[in-house]
Symmetry: C2
Subunit: 289 residues, 2 copies
């Protein structure tokens, strides 16, 4: 498939940039950089950076401008997985077929590695924003992006979704709460990517709102597709998912409807080449793993 | 003492601003805001915001400009305490005479509340930076402050010091490592406050470097003073401190020498009224609790 090849091209750029961002070791802090690097380089699909880059490419082609922000979001995604896996949270020993961070580095270091990655995201973005190679500073695009990413990642975004997941029980979970959880825990960071890439690229406010809407529908479709793929596992641990409220057929229809809404949103960007984002959307909702 | 009165005046402004920053609850995320608020309002002395504000006041008197950054650092300080206290870290049940966050809200929520506070610090700073009431945006002072705070808080700053503390043992701890730990774990965030206040106030690069030096010496003096005050407790748990390498008398001399260096640095700011920062320095190194 062509899209895989395109994605690999992005991934290699992202990986180089991530390695470079970790290049801050001294004799006292090597261990935490090892722990952060371990989780950053253990099978991540780099979907979020790819979203950010391909959204940016609707408007500009100099990837150097967007990469620091794209990898910052990957750091935030990765920290959230490290903390999610902890014994007091989901207590997972494996992720993507490898031991989780705390199984390798211990619980205390895993907590600090998560903290370190969240912090490093903001170091990376702000250091780049003030570097001499940054040509964007005059119009505040970079601080606007930092704001969007911070808000989508926080207690009214990704962390808020994680809290709801943690506290969910048969008594307090209804479909409205589930959709709030999906829109924060999953869709928020995808929206952050799409919106960040567009801002750095120079999107208008109208284009930005269209892409925000694209990101939300894509994020929700992605999560319900996940529910469909994981349904055996989810049922065995009695997890609340879209399938707790809907039949398989309805869930499949919902994925198709949401992804169509996402694609329709892209069609509103009349003079932009959205073919890659459309292919990516179709690829993600048709995946079988 | 007059300084106590001055500090109380700052504290009430800081507390109002902190309450306001927590005003983002919805029906799904109330619990994490409760957890964050609990630790933010359980006996913190607000020293770090006071450092930021009083450094700012060397240059400007409109506190509205500096408060969002001052409270952001208090959020970062507070998250670091919540995570430090966790069972896998220092395993403390009490802080400032009250149950620690995880004893009240459970371990998972305490981890998320720490994450939430670190994230909220950057939300607060970036939201303010882009708000219509922010008059500073034209000269990039706010992104410069975000950069300074991010770097002082990260793996080459506060988190780095925490990692070293976690991994320290009789085999790998020497005085050089200890001073690195003190300069990161303790002094870095104090420097972040002093430098942030000065940048927002409009300090020159030269003034900034003088204040950075002030913050380092003050931070180190503060930490060694802490060692002197806590020596009974530290000895009982075999903790590495300045007193592992020096006599009581030498430690006292070091505190006096470092605080004098801090005050000497302030004297280099010839046309500024540094009297409050000097009183604060003397107050902190002469404290008995």
């Amino acid at each position: 498939m062509n899209i895989i090849k395109d994605m690999e091209k992005y991934i290699s750029r992202v990986d180089i940039e991530l390695k470079d961002a970790l290049n801050k070791r001294n004799i006292y802090n090597t261990k935490i950089f090892d722990a952060m690097e371990y989780s950053l380089f253990t099978g991540g699909k780099r979907l979020r950076p790819i979203f950010a880059i391909s959204s940016f490419e609707l408007f500009d082609d100099n990837l150097d401008k967007v990469l620091p922000f794209a990898i910052a979001i990957e750091m935030i995604h990765t920290y959230s997985l490290i903390h999610d896996d902890l014994p007091s949270m989901d207590n997972d020993d494996f992720r993507r077929g490898n031991p989780t961070n705390h199984k390798v580095f211990g619980e205390a270091m895993a907590i600090l590695a998560g903290d370190g990655l969240l912090n490093l995201a903001f170091e990376t973005m702000s250091n780049y924003s003030l570097s001499s190679s940054n040509p964007l500073i005059e119009n505040n695009r970079n601080i606007r992006v930092i704001q969007e990413i911070a808000n989508y990642s926080g207690c009214n975004g990704m962390i808020g979704g994680q809290v709801l997941d943690l506290l969910s029980s048969p008594e307090n979970m209804d479909e409205e709460a589930l959709i709030y959880m999906y829109s924060t825990k999953t869709a928020a960071l995808i929206q952050a990517c799409i919106v960040s890439g567009a801002i750095i690229g120079g999107a208008s406010e109208n284009e930005l709102e269209i892409l925000r809407d694209f990101g939300l529908n894509l994020g929700l479709a992605y999560q319900i597709k996940d529910d469909l793929l994981d349904r055996g596992k989810d049922e065995s641990i009695n997890k609340f998912t879209y399938l707790s409220f809907h039949s398989l057929e309805d869930a499949e229809k919902e994925v198709a409807m949401l992804s169509q809404k996402a694609i329709d949103a892209l069609d509103l960007l009349k003079d932009k080449d959205t073919s890659f984002l459309k292919s990516l959307t179709r690829y993600l909702i048709n995946r079988e793993i």
